[in-house]
Assembly symmetry: D3
Homo-oligomer: 259 residues x 6
Amino acid sequence: MAIKMSNQFNSEITRADGRATDELRPVRITNSFTDIPEGSVLIECGNTRVMCTATFTQGVPRWRKDSGLGWVTAEYAMLPRATAERTDRESVRGKIGGRTHEISRLIGRCLRGVVDMKALGENQIQIDCDVLQADGGTRTASITGAYVAMVEALRWAEENKFIKSAAKVIKDSVSAVSVGVIDGTPMLDLPYVEDCKAMTDMNVAMTGSGDFIEIQGTAEHRPFSRNELNTLLDLAEKGNRELQAAQADVLEADAEAGR
Amino acid sequence: MAIKMSNQFNSEITRADGRATDELRPVRITNSFTDIPEGSVLIECGNTRVMCTATFTQGVPRWRKDSGLGWVTAEYAMLPRATAERTDRESVRGKIGGRTHEISRLIGRCLRGVVDMKALGENQIQIDCDVLQADGGTRTASITGAYVAMVEALRWAEENKFIKSAAKVIKDSVSAVSVGVIDGTPMLDLPYVEDCKAMTDMNVAMTGSGDFIEIQGTAEHRPFSRNELNTLLDLAEKGNRELQAAQADVLEADAEAGR
Amino acid sequence: MAIKMSNQFNSEITRADGRATDELRPVRITNSFTDIPEGSVLIECGNTRVMCTATFTQGVPRWRKDSGLGWVTAEYAMLPRATAERTDRESVRGKIGGRTHEISRLIGRCLRGVVDMKALGENQIQIDCDVLQADGGTRTASITGAYVAMVEALRWAEENKFIKSAAKVIKDSVSAVSVGVIDGTPMLDLPYVEDCKAMTDMNVAMTGSGDFIEIQGTAEHRPFSRNELNTLLDLAEKGNRELQAAQADVLEADAEAGR
Amino acid sequence: MAIKMSNQFNSEITRADGRATDELRPVRITNSFTDIPEGSVLIECGNTRVMCTATFTQGVPRWRKDSGLGWVTAEYAMLPRATAERTDRESVRGKIGGRTHEISRLIGRCLRGVVDMKALGENQIQIDCDVLQADGGTRTASITGAYVAMVEALRWAEENKFIKSAAKVIKDSVSAVSVGVIDGTPMLDLPYVEDCKAMTDMNVAMTGSGDFIEIQGTAEHRPFSRNELNTLLDLAEKGNRELQAAQADVLEADAEAGR
Amino acid sequence: MAIKMSNQFNSEITRADGRATDELRPVRITNSFTDIPEGSVLIECGNTRVMCTATFTQGVPRWRKDSGLGWVTAEYAMLPRATAERTDRESVRGKIGGRTHEISRLIGRCLRGVVDMKALGENQIQIDCDVLQADGGTRTASITGAYVAMVEALRWAEENKFIKSAAKVIKDSVSAVSVGVIDGTPMLDLPYVEDCKAMTDMNVAMTGSGDFIEIQGTAEHRPFSRNELNTLLDLAEKGNRELQAAQADVLEADAEAGR
Amino acid sequence: MAIKMSNQFNSEITRADGRATDELRPVRITNSFTDIPEGSVLIECGNTRVMCTATFTQGVPRWRKDSGLGWVTAEYAMLPRATAERTDRESVRGKIGGRTHEISRLIGRCLRGVVDMKALGENQIQIDCDVLQADGGTRTASITGAYVAMVEALRWAEENKFIKSAAKVIKDSVSAVSVGVIDGTPMLDLPYVEDCKAMTDMNVAMTGSGDFIEIQGTAEHRPFSRNELNTLLDLAEKGNRELQAAQADVLEADAEAGR
């Protein structure tokens, strides 16, 4: 199941890929991408492609035992040739880099932000996001895709009587998108070429209700003002609403398919 | 570009998946699977799916400098949910396991076996085989797919004038397949369920000319006789010839497409 | 040199430590805390104490060579008994945890955000923030203290003719503070006991000009609305202005002392 | 107890060390080489010397518990100056290389291939093969020596009433030898100088009954034909029969000595 | 609480810092240096400053369980800018160096040497010595400071009823000091500049009763005679008696303060 | 070449192995133990057996370059079954333990203490001490054996014109022995069973001239007095003189053999 966003946005400034400044790249979410995991999704945002799997297991980590609460955790990684120059494997280097750690933790927090741990019970969901191809926005694509994989896994768990109701576990949906200021212009959903030029870069994870779970704005190259922040958040809200529509379409089609 | 093998073989014993004992699983080889690497292939052998990329870079490792010779190396890894139970990432564990090392080395040797290092010149090809889904035969699928990715990368290098002729670098083709003895019957191309029951297990990498590059027979559970060895090698030869036909089809179509 | 902030703020809600909701904890910045480093600062924010050193060295990392630009990097760590329960050393565990990586990277970005790399020339500043005692806000205290240590080191470099002018390298000042929503009330500068109860937690790094370098808002436990975000940013701006006054006092006294 | 093989073979081609092409290097197996382990053997194949110890312990690894079955595992390592150029210790490098992993796993599989795990009961044998001096064929010498050490350890376990009968645990004997094609001539038992020149290299582990446990043929430098394979296997069978005679002599003498 | 040693010693040879050859550097021991640990001490010996904390926990490591005995262990580390040139963190390098291991073990042995493990019961004391500034003698300062921190922690444990009597656990006091031969002259308490020139270097840990717990004499640059050894031990005894007086003063003042 | 010490000592207290309190265990030093290294020695002190190799290489580590001085370094390790219970390999655990580090450093210092680095020139000697069987005193046996291996390597270097004169590089000989107090009685050369019972344990490395290079006395279990120290040093001097006689015999025989 895949969906292509219509290009309905306009703007006077044209970007290298022809998009308007407030326009998302085409997004495709393919669910049940591989057969084995409880949830498996391929998300494509422009040329960025991330495989997100969700593993449902009974039981929780030791520190969480006998709490009656569940747990959700995530790991993010890049395949060596997701990038233009081959990146050495972290397994070969023998340690995980700071960037990987940072993104894994971010994804985990975003998903935990929409899960009712009590309704999940003492079960664990492990999210794995592996970037097959990277063209900017891999962490936000991971969050958006992982949410769909998680719902798939929870529906599987409901069918298999591990939880009572997937719907009760999921308090809200969550998606994420990047925004940034390039040459003074705020823009939505930055591919790699824009990301490199961005003076300010912000990743915004938003719930279906329009509240924020994570705002990570970083402006190493040029601090941003309160006004710019507001414009960026407007863009991010627009982008997230569209991503959530794409998520909903896939999940609805999946539900109808009676999976 | 993908090819489905016709099921033309027969045998009285029927396997769980309905195949004859000397019948390959359906094989699909999709080239140019991702856009960034010089060579990128998805190979599917039954439910086993491996993404193979080939990275062409100028220059060789330090120990090989000023030899006038090129180098080919390979790394193999499994995504966490390629398997029924989630496997911990080797990057998280901080070390690479013995099995991973063993398979990476095997793939590298097989490809080096068909490359003319002098014709390659002081350039390097790095193969990455990442298993998206595992159902037996991941190492042999990796070899078969990696060969196609390597040719793709060498053709790219020829077009970009890094080497004179891809055809001269490639001395021969190479593919690999597993064979084994299950309940006393030699069988070709074992899926996971058969692999577990196999008393004898053999991986055979063969060139297009019909010679062997690697024979790895292991019989921890029941040693095998010289006769059984011969039957297994017959099966492996048959399987490899069919895999090589599939490789050739993809590479021919690709050449015609003028890539 | 140390400064105690006067408690001039008021609010109807009283916090466990008697502060108003918009009131900083007492802050003390002691410069030249140890004798050896080019810059050395002890910053105390309430019971949180962080030792920040700045190391000035000629030359830059390899990837930055011949760029004419300098580099600033940071490492953060906790002593084992900074916390109520002893924390195992990361050197003993053999790897750095995700939280440490994340904070080290954050501190580095904040300082780079106020440094003119061209004016710094091919020199490097390495910041080390070691938490002697932790009571919430260790990452923001690190940023605030590290800025002072960095200025100290740059003044040392100017005196020793490694750079022309410390003032030209420093484009702006930077400080950081945490804000959060506790029991529905937005509050400034959270100690550990409040941090644990916060549903929303945000760290805001601001320049002396009032622009943002980093906004890291995280709301794993309860997403926050655009309105709440605005209130939190107002609090953070107030806190940062006061921290910047404390930084300025120390640096002015230090300059007068003719160091 | 040590045995020197008589040189009874002939061939027209003479090798650097004067041997016929189908002649083993002199082999010496010294049992009870050190006093502490349950089994301890020094095996010398020409200038290759490997110390093999077998540790018998009650109980099995966790994943094997309550199976009623035993376990056999092996580790292989080289002392730094086993080689002409000093090799860095893997403990110092902090990780085990691929070659070490590969050989350790090979040795383990070969020994497990001749052990009746049910007769062993829930006991474990750990083999350690440490190469004191390397001159080619260290992995095959390790297998041949380890078998003797394992029998020694099982006899010790029988005497000490940990198992009922060593003879019942040992289903068959196992030895291993290398063969290869040098300058077009198939040869038996390659020392280092020949190993470097071999275009094809094969290690063959054979049971006392003449069946194969492992065949590892690798021909990175020149693929081999089915005919060559057959000649190499003939040589390997001859070599293994002689090695098994040497093993039997040592074990018989040991049994007579009433140990 | 801090104490400055009066400079009552004389000698004809004057050292760079004006001390007599048998004169300690000024020593300051500040107890309750941080608030969180059960014992926390800052010891300053000249420019060397070490923060020593003692963590008291109920229970002992697994190998010590059900022995009725307690355990004392220690870890030593240097902050990156304790030294003139920044030292890379061992956590970043991913392994602990030999020197760190050696000193950690030394500190642990010295403290265990004065503890009655039976009186301690199944409780554990973990010592952490973190060098804030290094100017020679960091290991001996660590021992001297750690003893005070340990007593502080044991008094805390007595007050909190985890042990019956701190006094019974502590069999004796312990302090340590370095001595060495510089340009042929034996000297007490070497700062870094002397340590570098010392041909012979010795660290001596002595109990309050005047017996030795550790003597580590090392003379890589010029072996020392039995006579020199005796002179060095005389100096070390004098130094240790003075350090023990400083320890006693702090601990007495602390006891009087009714803590 | 091997030498057995005559048992000429007497004492009223008899030890478990029948020795007098001031009597060494039988010592055997076999030189040219393996063929490949420049120096290779097997030393046996009672049941303790250590293989010591010395590797001579031209050039020194980077930090020593252009100093005109040589370098000597050492690494110590135990084979897994040197001990009664199998010890896990440090390569498998992925890190070197504190004890190993400590002993490696000790051996290096002892050997450097008798080498004229200027006469050695910019060459390096790497010592490897691998314990084949451990029965107490492995570190002192390593030092004693390593000295002989080092001389062998230096003689090799002289013959091969890498250095002018081995005799000029070696300023003195060095050996080491353990002493300890067992049940109140000072004893020489402790096997494992005594080592465990020793309240005080001391390792003493002494030059041929009778000066000390290392004294490492440790008395975790019962501090020792100045008097006891003197008795222990007397014993150590006696033991070292005898070990040095054994070293001299081997080296003389070796020189006569014209090697």
